[in-house]
């Protein structure tokens, strides 16, 4: 079995598991490459038609290319698209000039809370990946959240040597065993079907499956976006990659460089320590 096929199989297993174990699952679509690939996988898991709602949190500040792409794809793939906007905050003038954190929190997190409540979502599928950020290393495929959207790691229990029991024991993913029942304290469960993919693998799969993508990812005048979201908060990177093959080549180089970078960092620390004469 090819490497990409293995990744795909695992993701599809998790997507089907989520559909089976929960009453009202939904998938979050930011229109970026990861969540667009996730939609593709959902389509594949259920033979062409996604059997649950697709939620898009609209901050009102997205690239115009994103809106166009969203509407075209929704039609083409026959999505049950639910657009959620924190209209109240937008009406009061919330925007990036009020502070990036404040803006993101109000227009994304608060809007998502509204969506979860309004659509009674009990499982939310998200396209996050472990290699995005250090903090995501610890994420699980099925991850419970409480009402404040905090990662719910433990719940109170009676008896035993500890008043808490962990909700996040190591998942036996090699055995396809995932805990999906987190009790009444979990407001909803986050499901991360593509947690194990890397950025490079995503692009390799996009290429293999010919998945449509917003062209912001491709180089124009020497710049391209590696991730997209709100227009005001995204910075393009220097790149000559104007098609997907070139994006893949570029990423192959940078990932080795990042890995070499980590080894180098250790070497740097060792050199520094050994600059003490006693060594």
């Amino acid at each position: 079995m090819s490497h990409l096929k293995e990744l795909e199989d695992k993701s599809i297993f998790i997507i089907r598991e989520a559909k089976n174990k929960f009453k009202n699952p939904a998938v979050l679509w930011s229109i970026g490459k990861d969540s667009t690939m996730l939609l593709w996988l959902c389509k594949k898991a259920f033979f062409g038609k996604i059997p649950f709602p697709v939620v898009h949190i609209d901050t009102g500040y997205k690239f115009k290319e994103i809106y166009e792409f969203r509407d075209n794809m929704a039609k083409e793939w026959g999505l049950d698209l639910r657009i959620v906007k924190n209209e109240e905050a937008l009406a009061q003038g919330m925007g990036p000039d009020k502070g990036k954190f404040e803006c993101c929190n109000t227009l994304k997190t608060e809007a998502l809370k509204l969506a979860v409540k309004e659509h009674k979502i009990d499982a939310l599928l998200l396209g996050i990946r472990r290699d995005e950020h250090g903090i995501r290393n610890k994420e699980r495929y099925f991850s419970p959240r409480d009402k404040q959207f905090r990662w719910k790691l433990a719940r109170k229990k009676e008896g035993g040597d500890s008043p808490y029991e962990s909700l996040q024991d190591t998942e036996m993913s090699g055995w396809n065993l995932f805990a999906t029942d987190f009790g009444p304290e979990a407001d909803h469960v986050r499901v991360h079907p593509i947690l194990h993919w890397t950025e490079l693998e995503v692009w390799q799969y996009v290429k293999q499956e010919n998945i449509p993508m917003v062209d912001l990812y491709l180089s124009k005048k020497g710049k391209r976006y590696r991730s997209i979201g709100c227009e005001c908060c995204c910075m393009p990177v220097d790149s000559e990659a104007d098609d997907i093959d070139k994006v893949i080549e570029e990423l192959k180089k940078t990932t080795t460089r990042e890995r070499e970078g980590r080894a180098q960092e250790k070497e740097h620390l060792m050199q520094k320590l050994r600059s003490l004469g006693y060594m």
Partner: protein, 624 residues
């Protein structure tokens, strides 16, 4: 009525008695620190009549042993001397500390607050040095090159930082050696050997600060051109040319490294070994005191003012080029020439500040010399594990150093008045370093650590923490892999493991010499106390003379054998049981004791100046 008079009389007598005690106080204090001055060598040279001025000071005042810190490392000891507190309170435990919440080692001289090539530093020292207290009390205070005073702090006077000041790269040292010879395998393993092409013009680079570019750590470089003539070389850097002949040191050469919008200025000296094949050694590139990338003095302009008065000078914390000597890139003679340069500069600094001190009514001058320590590290002739003849074999280089210091002391003694308390002291003594002990390999052998012994692995890469009870980092420090403290800690009953390790360590024998390796191993709680104990190790290993922890131990690496011969030119050391390496204390006053500890020094300084001794300080005034 008569009774009443009597009461008043008593009160008057009592009060005048008190004021008399106050008046006994000195107006000024001069502390001269000499790193690594050993009582054994000092006594021997005094008996031979070679240190007449130290002799004079001992006879007219006092000379006693000054017990050193646990462990006897310069940063630990000088911090204890300055603060009157133990490591549990002042937070400096070893040359190397472990980064909290990890098993990674880091230098404990100053905390670099912003990673690679960073210029923001913080001090680890958590208690008040005596100069902070004199400053608070508005007493003119000048501190020059006291170790662990980087970054510089505010004093009521001048402060020039000592041990801890980094080089232009943010390292503690690093020579560069340029050669037209083919590089040997050994060269390739050394720190910075640059191959150049022989020719009339040699084009090469100087290596400056590190910076990150596209995820990679790179050297910022600055070009250097060397034009060879028949009997000299012109070194061109930054548009200026400096001519040197083979067998000569250049004067200071300034170089700018452009990193982003900033230029980092450094200074160095070059030593031309030969023209053909071309071989040239350059010292560690030091922070330029005229335009420092990070402050090295208080006020910040002081480092520049000094240049105006005495010329450029070595600014690095440990500027002596011991690495070049140990690696065989410079000869003994060339190394000693460099030591003389450093000493000369330091003496100029001393006399400048001493002149100002002499003019003052009240004041404190604390001044540290430390080339003494480095000379002894690399010119130690005694072999304690082999010889049993009485007396210490003193290398001529060491002898000469102390004779020069004696001349210097003579000039000081001729100029100080009775209102000045003089303390001449050292942080520790010295012994030989013949056998190198890899504590991590030993921990594996004894079953306290589970790891694959791989000599190439760094930072405990091959350790299975789930089956490891303890690990060694630094030169005398063992840490318990404690549950809740270490990232993958497993030990719940720490005391029990500490006792087991100590019993085993104290029983460790060297098969080659048939001697005991460790005199005593101390649980931290026996020798330290205070709020920062949690940052320090759990066991302090007190080696017998002749033994020292291997450098691999210090950084979380392994050697194949537990004990190996030390075949490096770094043959003297002091990282043993503190009992074997006390320092010295000379004073122009008769001290009321024949033994003193480092925590007594700060209280003595403050008491002499009529200041109350803070409760935090553990020692006592030695002039009471």
């Amino acid at each position: 009525m008569a009774n009443r008079h009597l009461v008043w009389l008593c009160v008057i007598l009592f009060v005048s008695g008190c004021s008399e005690m106050e008046e006994m106080k000195f107006k000024k204090v001069l502390v001269i620190g000499i790193d690594g001055m050993d009582p054994g060598i000092t006594k021997q040279l005094m008996e031979e009549g070679r240190l007449p001025n130290f002799q004079r000071l001992a006879e007219n005042g006092s000379f006693i042993n000054l017990n050193t810190s646990y462990p006897p490392h310069s940063p630990v000891a000088w911090t204890t001397l300055a603060t009157g507190t133990n490591p549990g309170k002042h937070n400096v435990f070893d040359f190397i500390r472990r980064q909290p919440g990890s098993y990674l080692p880091e230098l404990s001289l100053a905390k670099s607050a912003s990673g690679i090539g960073g210029t923001n530093y913080e001090s680890y020292v958590m208690s008040d040095p005596f100069w902070r207290i004199t400053t608070k009390n508005k007493i003119p205070t000048t501190v020059i090159r006291w170790p662990v005073t980087f970054p510089p702090e505010k004093v009521k006077g001048n402060l020039l930082s000592g041990l801890g000041v980094p080089d232009i790269k943010g390292f503690l040292s690093g020579y560069t050696y340029y050669t037209a010879n083919e590089l040997t395998t050994k060269d390739k393993a050394l720190k910075k050997i640059i191959k150049v092409e022989q020719g009339e013009i040699i084009k090469t680079d100087l290596f400056g600060p590190k910076r990150r570019k596209d995820g990679e750590i790179i050297d910022v470089i600055s070009p250097m051109e060397i034009r060879l003539t028949e009997n000299s070389a012109d070194i061109e850097v930054g548009g200026k040319s400096h001519t040197i002949k083979p067998g000569e040191w250049s004067d200071w050469i300034r170089v700018g490294f452009k990193a982003g919008f900033r230029t980092a200025y450094g200074i160095f000296r070059a030593y031309l070994i030969s023209l053909e094949p071309f071989e040239m050694y350059i010292t560690t590139i030091q922070i330029d005191p005229v335009n420092p990338i990070t402050d090295i003095s208080f006020p910040d302009a002081y480092s520049r003012q000094l240049v105006e008065e005495i010329g450029l000078y070595y600014t690095l914390g440990m500027p002596e080029e011991t690495d070049g000597l140990v690696d065989g890139k410079i000869s003994d003679e060339v190394f000693l020439q460099q030591i003389s340069q450093i000493e000369e500069e330091r003496l100029k600094m001393f006399w400048k500040e001493f002149e100002a001190f002499k003019q003052r009514e009240k004041g404190l001058l604390a001044f540290v010399f430390d080339a003494s320590d480095r000379v002894q590290h690399v010119f130690w002739d005694e072999k304690v594990l082999e010889e049993s003849t009485p007396g210490i074999d003193i290398n001529p280089a060491v002898e000469k150093y102390w004779e020069r210091k004696d001349e210097f002391l003579g000039k000081v003694l001729d100029q100080i008045d009775e209102a000045t308390l003089l303390l001449v002291l050292s942080d520790h003594g010295f012994t030989s370093f013949e056998r190198s002990v890899s504590l991590n390999t030993w921990l594996v052998q004894e079953g306290f650590m589970k790891a694959e012994i791989d000599e190439d692995a760094i930072f405990f890469e091959t350790v299975d923490w789930s089956q490891t009870q303890a690990y060694a980092l630094g030169f005398n420090s063992i840490y318990i892999n404690q549950k809740g403290r270490e990232p993958e800690g497993i030990v719940q009953n720490k005391e029990l493991v500490i006792q087991k390790i100590i019993a085993k360590l104290e029983g460790l024998k060297d098969e080659k010499t048939r001697q005991k390796v460790v005199n005593r191993a101390y649980p931290a709680s026996e020798v330290w106390s205070g709020p920062y104990m949690k940052n320090g190790p759990d066991i302090i290993v007190g080696f017998n003379p002749g033994y020292r922890a291997s450098w691999q131990t210090a950084v979380g690496k392994f050697s194949k054998e537990v004990i190996e011969d030390n075949d490096k030119a770094w043959d003297g050391d002091h990282l043993v049981d503190p009992k074997f390496v006390p320092g010295v204390l000379f004073s122009n006053q008769e001290l009321k004791t024949d033994t003193a500890g480092q925590t007594d020094i700060a209280p003595t300084v403050l008491d002499a100046l009529g200041l109350p001794i803070p409760e935090e300080m553990e020692g006592q005034s030695l002039i009471r």
